[in-house]
């Protein structure tokens, strides 16, 4: 290469330009040298006789210029790249090797496991189809979210924001959200696909912030207890008076020992053994209430019949309103008369007439027909019944004869909390007062029964004393949560867990760090009213302030991202996965 180049240079196609210095021209019969001036001019020797140039040099192989080499270099490397990709694609389009030229990253392990069998087309429908739809897909939007719904189910609207119909803000209702807007796939097998950054929430939420401590709005008033529980339990009076004041604790039917420990330790009443939800449930009545309140349950009668008067129950059974009582007194006597024969049959006849036997089969559970019969016989004869029962059976269950006020009554007395008959009658009452659709039963009779049953002072079993809110609250009624501790469903998107907090704190002492007793709260006033208005409810705890949280939940300390406390999806379900799996295993 490091030689002098000839004056002609290589040919256009890159071959040697010739081995002669010139190409002699014939002029007449002589050959003339045609070497130009700038290459040395006409040579001394002149052309050979045969017309060839006298200066011959060995042929060379010209070296391509830098640019030519570069061009081929570029071309070859590009072709190599394309052919490698084509090869991989052509050989293994549908398995793991083939997809590496397509896949932009591994799926999260769980998705990978579930899409293993079907492959890419589990989500990308176009993957298995033909060229035509590939081309079409380039120019149309691709829908991935629908494939998500193959496995994931959500509350309707499934693509609506928060899967929830927001009635107040119509624009938000219209907003549809694609799954892939928030959940990014193909980010590696260990990627936390449901972990969200505050910015994701900020996309829609008008109040935008990135840090809990700086931007999160203050918690609402009455947080977290804006709604009454089903049980009317006044923490303030219990902790401040009943557990402390000798006036109460020294009473004979009170458990002084329990009161002494319970006043300082929340866990005496609230179970922290299995804290998974945001609620710390109180322990059962038997464990924590009965030592003081059992006597109240046992002290009340449910009066069914009197010798010559309508009761709330008998008024209902005969479908007689309070005003008609005097006129219908004959009917009543007749009913008592009928009891003298077949009291059980007569009672079921009455219930059937009223058409309330459906679903309320235990209204007269365990009634002693003989007792009723003998009672009815005595009363018809205008005599008083004197029953001599054993000491044990004297005070509970179906009773007749003189009661505590020395009145002749046929009555029922609860033995313990959660008495089935009292409960059955209460539910019947609530049921009737809620939907007496056909007007078969006299409204006034129902109203009288209701008043009797829900009377805190004299009501049977004293249920209404504590369960009143549960018994009157519309929401509680509709969801059949009359009796049980009600899980608060108002904060659908809040997801506070006591668990980790309790483990960090000393549960018996530190509850009050957040749950501070509000001594001046008008908790009890809410329950006084006849018509309970939820807006008027006041918890007897001070509302929890944001500051309580952001002492720990802040930048540099404990994660305070939105999803720490809030959840996006309203009632998500994965049922379809199981359906699918079941289907698959069947086939």
């Amino acid at each position: 290469m490091w030689k002098k180049e000839c004056w002609q240079g290589p040919r256009n196609d890159g071959r040697c330009g010739g081995v002669f210095e010139c190409k002699p021209q014939k002029n007449g019969d002589r050959y003339l040298c045609t070497r130009p001036q700038n290459a040395g001019g006409v040579c001394k020797q002149g052309p050979l006789p045969d017309g060839n140039c006298c200066l011959k040099r060995p042929a060379c192989s010209p070296v391509p210029s830098n640019r030519v080499v570069r061009k081929y270099f570029t071309l070859i490397s590009s072709i190599a790249l394309i052919s490698i990709m084509t090869l991989i694609l052509a050989l293994n389009f549908n398995n793991k090797t083939g997809s590496i030229v397509i896949e932009p990253g591994e799926l999260t392990s769980i998705h990978a496991a579930y899409t293993e069998d079907i492959g890419c087309s589990s989500c990308h429908k176009v993957h298995d189809s033909n060229l035509h739809s590939w081309i079409k897909s380039v120019f149309t939007d691709t829908d991935i979210s629908n494939q998500c719904l193959d496995c994931h189910g959500f509350h309707e609207p499934q693509m609506g924001a928060h899967n929830f119909e927001f009635n107040k803000v119509s624009t938000q209702n219209a907003l549809t959200v694609e799954c892939s807007d928030c959940h990014k796939e193909h980010k590696g097998s260990n990627f936390e696909i449901s972990e969200m950054k505050p910015s994701t929430c900020n996309n829609c939420h008008e109040k935008k912030f990135n840090e809990f401590e700086a931007g999160h709005p203050e918690f609402p008033e009455k947080f977290p207890s804006s709604m009454p529980n089903s049980i009317n339990f006044n923490h303030a009076t219990h902790l401040e008076e009943y557990f402390v004041d000798p006036k109460w604790i020294d009473k004979p039917d009170r458990d002084k020992e329990f009161a002494t420990i319970a006043k300082d330790d929340c866990t005496v009443c609230h179970s922290i053994d299995s804290v998974k939800s945001n609620r710390i449930k109180p322990k059962g009545f038997e464990e924590i209430c009965s030592s003081c309140h059992l006597q109240q349950v046992r002290s009340r009668n449910l009066v069914f019949f009197r010798p010559d008067l309508f009761t709330a129950v008998s008024g209902l059974l005969l479908n007689v309103s309070e005003d008609e009582e005097d006129e219908k007194i004959d009917d009543y006597i007749e009913m008592l008369n009928s009891f003298t024969n077949e009291p059980g049959l007569e009672l079921s006849k009455l219930i059937e007439t009223l058409d309330i036997n459906n679903g309320f089969s235990e209204l007269f559970l365990g009634i002693n027909p003989l007792l009723l019969k003998s009672t009815a016989e005595k009363w018809v004869d205008e005599e008083d019944l004197e029953t001599e029962l054993s000491e044990e059976l004297k005070y509970f269950g179906w009773l007749s004869g003189y009661d505590e006020d020395y009145e002749q009554t046929f009555r029922y007395k609860a033995y313990s909390h959660n008495d089935p008959i009292i409960k059955e009658w209460l539910e019947l009452t609530l049921n009737l007062s809620k939907k007496n659709t056909d007007g078969k039963i006299n409204e006034s009779a129902i109203e009288r029964l209701r008043e009797t049953m829900l009377d805190k002072k004299t009501g049977p079993g004293a249920c209404a004393k504590c369960h009143l809110s549960g018994l009157t609250d519309e929401v509680a009624l509709s969801t059949q949560l009359t009796w049980k501790y009600r899980i608060n469903k108002d904060r659908k998107f809040t997801n506070y867990s006591h668990g980790p907090h309790i483990n960090l704190l000393n549960p018996s002492e530190n509850c009050i760090d957040c749950h501070e007793l509000d001594k001046s709260s008008k908790y009890h006033e809410f329950f006084k009213e006849d018509n309970l208005k939820i807006n008027n409810f006041n918890s007897n705890f001070l509302s929890i302030k944001k500051e309580k949280c952001d002492t720990c939940h802040k930048r540099g300390k404990i994660d305070a991202s939105c999803t720490q406390c809030h959840r996006y999806h309203y009632e998500p379900i994965n049922k379809k996965v199981f359906n699918k799996d079941v289907k698959k295993s069947n086939s």
Binding site: N12, Q25, K26, N27, T34, P36
Partner: protein, 570 residues
């Protein structure tokens, strides 16, 4: 040690006569003509006799009717004496460019411009040769004078063309739009262009069969010097035509009354120095030394007038140590010696010249006498005269660029290709662009003299003083009227190499041409390849100006007017 020496006779003035075919009989005949008969031969020095001038510096040309003698826009170094016949002078605005063989190339359209990428020939110097064949006589190099009748454009200028061109006695009348003057026997023309080195201002063609004596510039200068009658004719002609305009344009006389200028022109003297073909001597000895014969005025002498520069270049220098330092150079419009005269007039003390003036190759000057200046100009002189010697205050290092530019005569360039080597990555994109713009043939080489980081590449500089254009037999090399670029008309170039040999910078390249299939074109006479002169044409047919400048990725390449560049740099 390795130098070998060859001896030869010292070159003499008339070693190479203008025309070897001039015979003594012809000279005798000429001497009998009144124009030469009346000259006092005794005033000529013995070495330069009138006979010698006529024999060696003159030739007799014969023109057929219609032959062009002088082209508008040409540069020429000879004057003409009409011996026989009639010639027609077409004054400006003159004949169409097509007639003169210098059709301006049309700009390429955008599409044509793009199509160059694949349409460019794969062979070097390939051309569509069919356009040459209707001018075979030009191809053969036999008839260097083209006739206005022979071109296919002739019908543009004549009312009625004769059917048989060969048989006519005289050329028909031009259309009325052309202003013409008819000259008869004894008329002298073309002397201004020859002496003051400006382009010809009119086209002259033979009206009838004519004989013209062509006098080389050197010979004309001698005759003017030693014969008062010739001198008067030439000087009067010069005064009437050129001198007044030159003076009026000079900044020294700006704002003065036209009558005063006329008076000054009456008393002014004009002189030429140096050699017309300075490029020959420059090429032979590329030294930068001032020879004594080039010196016009000497530092320390007294001057009797201001020297205005009317053409060429002059070097202003001052002695320093053992050498001569170039302070600046003067070109058309500049003047020399004003400061000293003005101070003398003001103070009354006579002041000698502070600097010397020497010619750089060739210099045409107008000397305005001191007493005229003192009478008319100095009392009202407005411009603040700057002392040329003040430049000497600058450090020697500051002026190295100027010294270098003057030494290499780069001061001549108006479109010099200057490459900043500190920016140039030597990618040759400029050469490639040039090649793409010229059918695959680069018109310059990225080589040249370097000063500091500046390289003047081997590309046509489009000189102020275009020596390449002197002597072109067909006017193929010419200056564009609108942009001043020096270009070669490939159609009329006969490959005589005159321009290529004249160019002091070796920027014109003679090339063998090929047809579109890459076959070398040979002359039918002697089988020698047909050559064409090629050089940078400033991409006159391309949109957007010189492709080299546009293609440089690092702004390293510029086309500069060296005058501006040198002065801007310092």
């Amino acid at each position: 040690m390795f130098n070998t020496s060859v001896t030869m006779d010292r070159p003499q003035r008339w070693d190479s006569p203008f025309d070897h075919n001039m015979t003594d009989a012809q000279v005798e005949l000429l001497l009998q003509r009144p124009e030469f008969n009346l000259i006092d031969k005794s005033r000529f020095p013995s070495s330069i006799s009138l006979e010698g001038i006529l024999k060696n510096d003159c030739r007799i040309n014969r023109y057929k009717p219609g032959d062009i003698i002088v082209r508008d826009g040409d540069y020429g170094n000879s004057a003409f004496l009409l011996l026989k016949g009639k010639v027609t002078v077409v004054t400006r605005p003159g004949l169409p460019l097509e007639i003169l063989g210098r059709t301006r190339k049309k700009k390429k359209s955008f599409w044509q411009q793009i199509s160059q990428i694949w349409k460019n020939s794969p062979y070097p110097e390939a051309r569509n040769i069919s356009r040459y064949f209707d001018k075979t006589q030009i191809m053969n190099g036999l008839n260097t004078n083209s006739s206005i009748l022979n071109t296919k454009y002739s019908n543009l200028i004549f009312n009625e063309l004769p059917k048989n061109i060969d048989s006519i006695e005289s050329v028909p009348k031009l259309k009325e739009v052309y202003e013409t003057v008819t000259l008869g026997s004894g008329a002298i023309f073309g002397e201004i262009a020859a002496l003051s080195r400006v382009s010809r201002t009119a086209t002259i063609f033979a009206q009838t069969e004519s004989q013209v004596l062509e006098i080389r510039w050197q010979g004309l200068r001698e005759i003017r010097k030693y014969d008062d009658r010739w001198k008067k004719i030439i000087d009067d002609n010069f005064r009437n035509n050129l001198l007044k305009d030159t003076l009026l344009e000079n900044k020294l006389f700006k704002g003065f009354d036209e009558k005063i200028i006329e008076k000054i022109s009456k008393y002014s003297l004009f002189e030429t120095y140096g050699t017309f073909e300075w490029h020959h001597s420059f090429n032979k000895s590329n030294d930068n030394e001032t020879s004594e014969k080039d010196r016009i005025v000497q530092e320390g002498h007294y001057t009797d007038g201001v020297i205005l520069i009317a053409g060429g270049f002059g070097r202003v220098s001052k002695k320093i140590g053992n050498g001569e330092r170039t302070l600046t150079y003067l070109r058309v419009g500049d003047y020399f010696g004003l400061d000293e005269l003005y101070t003398t007039w003001k103070t009354g003390h006579e002041i000698p010249l502070e600097t010397s003036l020497t010619t750089l190759g060739y210099l045409h000057t107008i000397r305005v006498p001191a007493h005229i200046l003192e009478q008319y100009i100095f009392p009202d002189l407005k411009i603040k005269s700057s002392r040329l010697s003040d430049i000497a205050e600058r450090s020697l290092a500051e002026d190295t660029l100027l010294e270098w530019a003057v030494g290499h005569r780069y001061i001549n360039g108006t479109q010099t290709m200057l490459i900043n080597l500190d920016k140039c990555v030597r990618c040759d994109d400029c050469v490639r662009a040039c090649s793409d713009a010229h059918n695959g043939n680069p018109r310059f080489i990225r080589e040249g003299y370097v000063h500091g980081a500046q390289m003047v590449a081997n590309s046509c500089m489009h000189c102020i003083d275009p020596v390449c254009m002197i002597g072109c037999p067909t006017g193929a090399i010419h200056r564009n009227h609108d942009d001043g670029a020096v270009v070669i008309n490939d159609d009329t170039c006969i490959g005589c190499s005159t321009c290529a040999n004249s160019c002091p910078y070796k920027n014109i390249k003679m090339v063998q041409i090929r047809d579109d299939n890459g076959r070398v074109l040979l002359s039918s006479n002697n089988n020698q390849p047909i050559m064409k002169a090629t050089k940078c044409d400033l991409c006159q047919d391309q949109m957007g100006g010189p492709a080299c400048v546009r293609a440089c990725p690092h702004d390293a390449l510029e086309r500069v007017d060296f005058h501006n560049y040198v002065h801007w740099e310092s």
